[in-house]
Amino acid sequence: MAGEQLALTVLMGVFLVGVVSLVSRMENLRAYAPLTSGDAGYGDSAATGHKPSGLLRWLTTVDHKDIGILYGVYATVAFVWGGLAVMLMRVELTTPALDVLGSTGVYNGLLTSHGITMLFLFGTPIIAAFSNYFIPLLIGADDMAFPRINGIAFWLLPPAALLIWAGFFLDPLTGGTVEAAQTSWVMYAPLSAEQANQGVDLMLLGLHLSGISATLGAINFIVTIFTERSPDVNWANLDIFSWTILTQSALILFAFPLLGSAIIMLLLDRNFQTAFFAVNGGSPILWQHLFWFFGHPEVYILVLPPMGLVSWILPKFSGRKLFGYKFVIYSTLAIGVLSFGVWAHHMFSTGIDPRIRASFMAVSLAIAIPSAVKTFNWIATMWNGNIRLTAPMLFCIGFVANFVIGGITGVFLAAIPIDLVLHDTYYVVGHFHWIVMGMIAFAAFGAIYYWFPIVTGKMYQKRLAKMHFWLSEIGVVITFFAMLLLGYLGMPRRYATYEFNGLIAPLSQVTTLHQVATLGAFIILFAQIIWVFNLVQSYLEGPVVETEDPWDLKETGQYSREFEWFAEQLDSTDDDAPALAADGRGEPSDD
């Protein structure tokens, strides 16, 4: 033990010396790099042309566009991890017995990792990728209000991911002493408090870091949108995406610190003999209250910005302005406020006071109203419009269609009597996957295609992008509709096996539906392989975009500020190096 500590101490010392030498190198770089007054942000810099090359650039950048790209790459890696985890689970579920993974513990670990990865390491960061890159462009700011804090917020995420996944890496290294956490993403006590596995502690620490990251980012966006807007951008003409990011940031500000506090309480319970969530002396239900007071706003933290993306992109290909711009904003704010008053609808079956349940049911049902306002406004925007079915538009339409099913299944679940029947079944899993995959991921795909020319200076392969959409939509419908039906049959969620008595549920139908869901999951997987291939291939070899208006937005008067910025880059970039700022060749001035 002492030897290990000594070795670690030496390693730590070597690491710190490495840090000092790297920082010294950066200081030397400063000696010839252009300077700017530190506390005035970066906007006043007259010369921003110089950036170090290679890895050093990406490790030291505080440029909002670079950080946006880092977030995007990070989210994609997390998406791959979470996707592969669920593919293993889906293969296991093709038969009722435990035939593939070898132990239920592995399944539970994959389940936990899939949930936390997709929500915290893919969902939040992919939104941050768009907001970092485009909010300053959309509001006419030179950069984020606090560029260095922006950098800190991103760099907290890689350690967070390593810690959240640490159990998988440490399992073979420690001979199974440290395993992947098996708590599911909700980490309910007393299970999470009593699992004597250090993988859970590491996961909690990782989650804590990701919460700090999200909070730092939220503060940055609030300050940026309030104080860094161009003089001609006011609250009446602020773009819809910025409105949703502003609302999301406010939700993060109130929700994530609470998650951080609850995680610290859980860590104290696990390591320091406190009893916050203990059955004797504490309250496991307290965990559920604290977790869902964060957890339900988290749903809107994840879905409001994608709604903003769709509200921004869908009109571009409908040839019309967004119908009811003001009311879409009001509905965003309404959802933001209501989101803090619905958390106990996750706890209808826990035995809480029926009067409390009824009030939470009422507020939960009320959220359907602003949600419907948005849906009807999107449909009204398309109505009689000149619709162009580009890949971004297809994903937006898919988003609206999936929201109708994902949203309405949610309205059913908000009703206490229905929830008591369907709680903890695959119906719930189906419902929220229509939302998370069918909406959040779809909006992200649409936005990636829409802004691909700006970020890379290239155009993607349109046929592959449409294949990506259609296979994803078909896969989503097959997989998640099967899950809704599995829920109706009473299939409980979070189980690796389902060898139950045929009197409980019709086993053959359940097996068939699981196989159908797995088939759909493979279709989704195939679609995402096409997506990644398309992005990489198009980035490397795609046709260079030479027009400032690749989507012909000027025809309908929808040419917007980020493309104006794009046009400036085209004007100022050397003909020999047409690829833009993002890829590091020929960084032009922002001014």
């Binding site: 252009p34 700017t36 007054s37 506390d39 490790l59 440029d63 760099w155």
Partner: protein, 138 residues
């Protein structure tokens, strides 16, 4: 670290790049893991890195002229925080704190590791400011 100063006395940063955010994040992550998981070298190293990077980033962004005062302030905070953790197990009497140095209680050791990080940071701050005064870095 040398910092160039502008004519107004503000320390100038460089457009669009900074070496500190990565290390602020790494320091926080490593320090947090070290303290909670009771891996003391990580706790001390991570917290020292965190304190140093915070001092560095404050200086770079013009909130401080030199990093040493911020580093010393943070080191004081760590010493105090570490002692509070130790006191939760020993009480505030000096003799019990001294006898706790030989303790194997992991909470006490965690407290001492935070205090240790403060002491190392304080020493770094002291050394840094004395070097600055002799003119080796300004």
């Amino acid at each position: 670290m040398s910092q160039r100063e502008s004519e107004t006395g503000e320390t100038a940063g460089t457009g669009k790049l900074s070496s500190w955010p990565l290390f602020v994040a790494l320091g926080l992550a490593v320090g947090e893991v070290g303290v909670v998981m009771a891996v003391y070298p990580l706790a001390i190293g991570g917290l020292v890195l965190f304190a140093g990077s915070v001092a560095g980033i404050l200086t770079e962004s013009g909130y401080a002229e030199r990093p040493w005062r911020a580093l010393t302030a943070l080191s004081g905070l760590f010493v105090l925080l570490g002692l509070v953790v130790v006191w939760t197990q020993t009480g505030t009497e000096l003799s019990t704190v001294q006898s706790a140095l030989a303790s194997t209680d992991t909470v006490v050791l965690r407290g001492f590791s935070i205090t240790g990080a403060g002491v190392v940071s304080f020493a770094a701050g002291l050394a840094g400011s004395s070097i600055t005064e002799t003119g080796r870095a300004a």
